[in-house]
């Protein structure tokens, strides 16, 4: 029982970490791509520096959003296994991604600005961020030992 709890905690932390890091990396590239489309020349060094700056400046806030989302989404996914005979990996991945999508919508509805995270202004950007969450969900499933 204790071992399963530790595995779940480890899985949760891994899921938050992977979702956060992938989301930070992705949103940086989307923001830089928007500048490139305007004609800006962005060297590899500048790209790496900006990416690192976002890991320091953006990722902590994003991590808190991801952590709250997964705290709700992953247990709900575990509960839903009673009625949804889906592979655990698919279930947790879907729950993490759908949960994050819902979180984006809630944050945008509550925040004074139309869209808080610039990369999620487009469907493509939003989906790429959600893929990171899905990966986090898969890792959680692996950690808690569910059949993928």
């Amino acid at each position: 029982m204790m071992a399963r709890g530790k595995a779940a905690l480890l899985g949760f932390l891994l899921a938050v970490l992977v979702t956060t890091l992938s989301g930070s990396l992705i949103q940086t590239q989307f923001n830089l791509a928007a500048l490139t489309a305007l004609g800006a020349e962005i060297s590899l060094a500048t790209r790496l520096t900006t990416t690192a700056q976002d890991l320091v400046g953006f990722a902590p806030l994003y991590a808190s959003l991801v952590a709250v989302t997964l705290t709700v989404a992953l247990p709900l996914a575990a509960l839903s296994r009673r009625w949804l005979p889906l592979p655990a990996g698919l279930l947790y991945a879907s729950a993490a991604a759908l949960g994050l999508w819902l979180a984006f919508m809630v944050v945008d509805a509550l925040a004074p600005m139309p869209t808080l995270i610039a990369a999620t202004r487009s469907l493509t950007g939003t989906l790429c961020m959600l893929v990171g969450a899905a990966l986090g969900g898969v890792l959680y499933a692996c950690c808690v030992g569910r059949r993928l």
Binding site: T28, N31, L38, A40, G57, F58, P112, M113, P114, I117
Partner: protein, 364 residues
């Protein structure tokens, strides 16, 4: 003495009341998010309220109960609503008032400009002169300030709509720009983008985020604006016709999430600000002081601030800001607008649901 940084230059931030001693008088209360103030020749005042009302204030500060009828239909939501009221240069003869406002709905809206005649008691004969294009979604970043130029044209400030920041670099629309119009809403013959098939002819400058203050300094022949940056990077800019001020390719701020908007503070071909405020003060209105009440303030700029809950006095020399002074923090209020009255006193509007008109007079 604190130091404030501007483009690598240190601009002293004066502490205390080095140059003037003043008293704050609350003239009028009960204004709902007042946005802009105009002085009528007979001593009365007009104030816009963001939800869409134009209010008349008597010279003694008493507020007429009923708002003036005949204001254009306004989209009022979050930052959207009724913005600036400005008298035409020939107001005594024509009675024309200019009003800027948001029009549309949450899914399609933008900043518009109208004029209407005011006979001292009511409005009539309103006409829409300009609407920024394209209509955009959301209720943020409208600009909405106006200034008259000596050639009988007016400049209207606009915003980038927040979600559309890259469009501030697109001369093919009005997002994130200043536009210049004749007093009857036409495109002046010498507008800088006129003749460029890919550009809107109304454009006067581009690459702005959300321009909230504008002043024309006749003595120096300078058009100055302030604009909101994101988190940091609020700017004071000296406007040159046709210039590009960089947003979002360049900024000294980062996004509200902490994300980098751009790696660049400056780039060739993009005009840098005269001054930036990082961290942000959220500049709102701006006024140029000329008057007898505060002789030491002649020619200085006054920038009201929302988040900063203050007014910044900017002292300029040879085109540069050389000193800043923080004023009126005692009000403990978001300040939406600052004006210089014909009596030489400063007038402030506080940005609250129960906002006020405050007059700044010499202590003596």
């Amino acid at each position: 003495m604190k130091r404030w940084h501007a483009l690598g230059l240190t601009v002293p931030l004066l502490a205390g009341l080095a140059h003037a001693d003043y008293r704050l008088e609350t003239l009028t209360e009960g204004l709902e998010h007042p946005w802009s103030l105009a002085f009528l020749p007979d001593g009365r005042m007009l104030v816009t309220e963001r939800p869409g009302r134009l209010r008349l204030i008597e010279a003694d500060g008493s507020l007429r109960d009923a708002p003036l009828a005949g204001v254009p239909e306004v989209f009022a939501e979050a930052q959207a609503g009724l913005f600036e009221v400005m008298l035409a240069p020939d107001f005594d003869d024509s009675g024309w008032l200019y009003l800027s406002y948001a029009y549309g709905d949450i899914s399609a809206n933008n900043t518009c400009l109208a004029r209407t005649r005011f006979n001292g008691e009511g409005l009539s004969g309103g006409e829409v002169l300009f609407c920024a294009s394209p209509a955009k979604r959301g209720a943020a970043h409208y600009g909405g300030r106006m200034a008259l130029l000596p050639d009988d044209t007016l400049v209207l400030t606009l915003g980038d709509g927040f979600d559309y920041r890259e469009q501030a670099q697109n001369a093919g629309n009005h997002l994130g720009s200043l536009v210049r119009l004749t007093l009857d809403g036409r495109v002046p013959d010498d507008n800088p983008f006129l003749g460029d098939d890919g550009a809107r002819p109304e454009l006067y400058s581009m690459g702005h985020r959300n321009v909230q203050g504008i002043v024309y300094d006749a003595a120096r022949d300078e058009l100055l604006i302030n604009e909101h940056g994101p988190r940091g990077g609020d700017e004071l800019n000296l406007i040159q016709p046709g210039a590009n001020y960089g947003w979002p390719l360049t900024t000294h701020g980062v996004d509200y999430t902490g994300a980098q908007i751009t790696p660049f503070r400056e780039l060739p071909g993009l005009t840098p600000p005269l001054l930036h405020w990082t961290p942000s003060i959220a500049p709102s209105g701006m006024a140029l002081y000329h008057g007898d009440a505060f002789p030491d303030w002649q020619g200085d700029l006054f920038v009201s601030a929302l988040a900063g809950q203050q007014v910044r006095r900017l002292v300029r020399e040879e085109g540069r800001v050389v000193e800043q002074q923080v004023l009126f923090e005692a009000l403990d209020s978001r300040i939406r607008d600052v004006r210089v009255g014909p009596d030489g006193y400063l007038y402030l509007l506080t940005d609250h649901a129960d906002g006020a008109l405050v007059r700044v007079v010499p202590a003596s």
